[in-house]
Amino acid sequence: MKITAELLAQHNLTTEEYSRIEQLLGREPSFTELGIFSVMWSEHCSYKSSRVHLKRLPTEGECLIQGPGENAGIVHIGDDWCAAFKIESHNHPSFIEPYQGAATGVGGILRDIFTMGARPVAAMNSLRFGPIDSNGNGNAPRNRRIMTGVVKGIGDYGNSFGVPTVGGEVYFDECYSLNPLVNAFALGLVRKEQIFYGKAEGIGNAVVYVGAKTGRDGIHGATMASAEFDEAAMEKRPTVQVGDPFSEKLLLEACLEAMRSGAIVGIQDMGAAGLTSSSCEMGARAGNGVEINLDLVPQREEGMTAYEMMLSESQERMLIVAERGRERQLQEIFQRWDLDAVTIGHVTPEPKLRVFHKGDLVADIPNAALTEEAPRYNRPQAKRPAAVRENLKDKIDLIWKRVDGDLGTILEQLVASPNLASKQWVWSQYDHMVRTNTIVLPGSDAAVIRVKETRRAIAMSLDGNGRYCRIDPYNGARLAVMESARNVVASGARPLAITNCLNFASPERPEVMQEFSDTVDGIADACRALGTPVTGGNVSFYNETEGRGIYPTPVIGMIGVANDTHTITTQWFKDDGDRIILLGESREDLGGSELLNSLAGYAGGNVPRLDNETELALQSICVELIEAGIVKSAHDCSDGGLAVALAECCFSTYRHNAIGAKIDLSEHAKLSEVEPETQHRSRVLSLLFGESPSRMIMTAKSDDVAMIRDLAQRRDVPFAEIGTVGGSQLSIELDDSLLLQSELNQLESLWSSSIAQRLDHP
């Protein structure tokens, strides 16, 4: 086949990239080879635009067993147990085909975990959609359909597979309209000595194909995910794969059994770029080559070409390197689970990927050409022109006028806003209890699972804030990392390590590239301060449709460990008479807030200031107090600020009715009465709804308050006793004047019904 400019364009390869292919091969590539290069050099597989930046992330730490570069990162969690975890995006497929796109996203991340030898024990996901409100939004029906499909896809896959989906986040913003983000996280447990790697070691060892048969689905999926969409996006539907959670469940059990048998040398999931990436990456990691014969590959359809087989992204498949002579044993294990296990090749000394089909050598490529030698771009960067600064005072006045100065109305509107409302509609469709390890139900700051074999528990949280990152990518990223750590801390665990999913628009736009680079620096700064290494993650570029890109949206997945399940704490207020404490300082941090976004439609201003030292001091005393067993509830103040956080503490949860609180902020904040009225408004709104980081709401028995005060004073953490738990209202006072008073029943009903109403009765 003649290689033309048109053919290259179809493969998303530039002419420079093509010359480089010729140079690396020393000849013209075959059609199959062109296909292989196009997927391996796609943004999705090669990280060509991001690699030069990702190098700046800290990847070392005491707990680290496996950093970036493998299928998942692994950290030591104590005793001889390790956690394998990772997050990955499935944004593009979820836009084209929400149900299957999201389902296969879950399937892919689960395989990344069990290919390391770890049994998946928890899943989470970070979802972003366009607005689902009908008023004046033409895309709302489509956004609702995408959301409904994505949630069902995640549920159906995870539920059937048998992994609990224990938490995550859901946000709405116009920039995600037609650009939904679906980031799937999974975590698995593995004993230290039972970890497996994707390495083709041992010359002469067998290369065994296991799992589902190969079909024509998902061809060029990786390439599709490496380009922006136009109005013809729906024509790309066949590039989305179809998920089969039942096969995946069988594959999991068979793989774990095969791993225990000792016959497996290396193993890798066939994810993006399927057979191609698994074979050349396993070879590259071991410095060996892999030779395969496609005639032996189990096929679902007749007449598939070498090109199609190498590029197929059929799901639920794995590539195994097995000890020579033990192929039979492997076959028996997989047969028991009704799965194919076929030897399709062997490991060779020459570090090349060699592919035979019908007697012909159809591809013969050095591994390095597909991996280390893949293009790397340091793309141009440019600061985004500063947005027109609108006067914050005008926005505040607008909000004030809209509610006639009634702060209770603001609270009601905020808790009912889709970003802050209860996400029960979403998580009640996920089995979040299977495996009977879930000790904190969805809805609290972090999800927590116990590790049955030990006394320990793992806490995990996904956090990102696109609005902050649009305003200030560097600080927005720092805030996201620190918030995820604070969430883990609020449950009583110590932050250990992160994974991250970096969702951005086209890297070919200099301002996007600048935002990306700043984001990486922000994550690096916060992770260094916390001592939590980055164990891996995923970059998703080209999140733009018809020229409109998303906000820079890094999503951080933090995990932490608590040494004793008994001290795990949740955010909900517990008993009448408990004293409420607020640690940290509230400043005038309204920039980028949910208040301005929801009530004034404004996403500007300065993001809250974050000081690493202050944050670390807060986090460390919180963990110590929780470990000491005197904290009855702990909740981070973030989106929506103090008033929303207090309301969330009051709401009901399993076996706890809603319980009120009487708050007096006089010890925490001072407002001078002589201030001009506008200044006063801004101060009050900031106090109640500002989003200053490094704050925590706690409750304790009154006898224990002094101890908390002492520790806070010794560590220089601002401390204030702000009220008492009890009653059926949430009331907030300051300097003897009542700021707001809300009936909890009414507030909770607004909060809990908001999402369901929008989706079920639009």
Binding site: K152, G155, D156, N159, S160, F161, G162, D244, P245, F246, S247, K249, L250, W337, D338, W427, S428, Q429, Y430, D431, H432, M433, V434, R435, T436, T438, I439, L441, R450, K452, T565, Y654, R655
Partner: protein
């Protein structure tokens, strides 16, 4: 005394059930592979929750043809104790060991949450340690839990006191609001005429340890252990 937990391809609550029997109740237990036909050495058999065969055709519809199901039918006929939880209940209905069917939830969505169920009868080996009318807090997690049967069967179930659990509110009142999935007459669990086979949609194994929020479900397993003990004594 030996418990068996059946493993169908796609079962995913098998380990959870095994954990409760071995670690919480402290009784000997083994997994039973779905291709197994020799099950005589077990005294009680549990069909666990999950998605047997992916539930692709209809929940439980393929699992009933597993080799192990032939033996289980014989085991039931001989008076062996069988508990079907969630997918296990669906399989028992498909296999004809229990009457009726589990249809799609009324809201057409999968539902995972804690619900309250009322113990309607304590004269079964599965509820003997409960109190009549006791309210148990246990989770449900299913897409097809909407119990249905024809009116004759319902009359028979009532007449023979075979409705063992009903969805109810916290105080034990059976209300429409407390019915999570549209089940006929708020039915959450039923038994066969001989009272040795019970199917229930809620997951007692998920509510058997206080760290998980509830240990009400433990009563089902401890009832089973006590009943079995008595049964074995009688046989001896």
């Amino acid at each position: 005394m030996k418990f068996g937990v059946v493993v169908f391809p796609g079962s995913n609550c098998d380990h959870d059930t095994y954990h409760v029997i071995s670690k919480v109740i402290g009784q000997p237990v083994d997994f039973i592979w779905h291709k197994e036909e020799q099950i005589d050495h077990f005294d009680a058999i549990i069909l666990p929750g999950g998605f047997s065969y992916g539930d692709y055709l209809r929940t439980g519809a393929i699992a009933r043809f597993s080799p192990v199901m032939r033996s289980i039918t014989g085991f039931a006929r001989d008076g062996g104790l069988i508990l079907g939880i969630c997918n296990g209940f669906q399989i028992l209905c498909e296999a004809g060991l229990l009457p009726g069917a589990l249809m799609r939830n009324q809201n057409l969505r999968f539902i995972c949450r804690h619900v309250n169920i009322r113990v309607e009868r304590t004269d079964t080996p599965f509820t003997s340690s409960c109190e009549q009318g006791q309210v148990l807090s246990t989770p449900i997690a299913h897409g097809d839990g909407n119990y249905f049967c024809d009116s004759e069967t319902l009359a028979e179930l009532k007449r023979e006191d075979r409705i063992i659990f009903r969805y109810c509110d916290e105080s034990g009142t059976v209300t429409r609001e407390a019915n999570p999935n549209g089940s006929l007459d708020n039915i959450a669990g039923i038994c066969n005429k001989e009272r040795n086979v019970l199917g229930m949609m809620p997951h007692p194994e998920r509510a058997s340890e206080s760290v998980l929020g509830s240990n009400d479900g433990r009563l089902i397993f401890s009832s089973l252990a006590v009943s079995l003990n008595q049964l074995l004594k009688v046989r001896a």
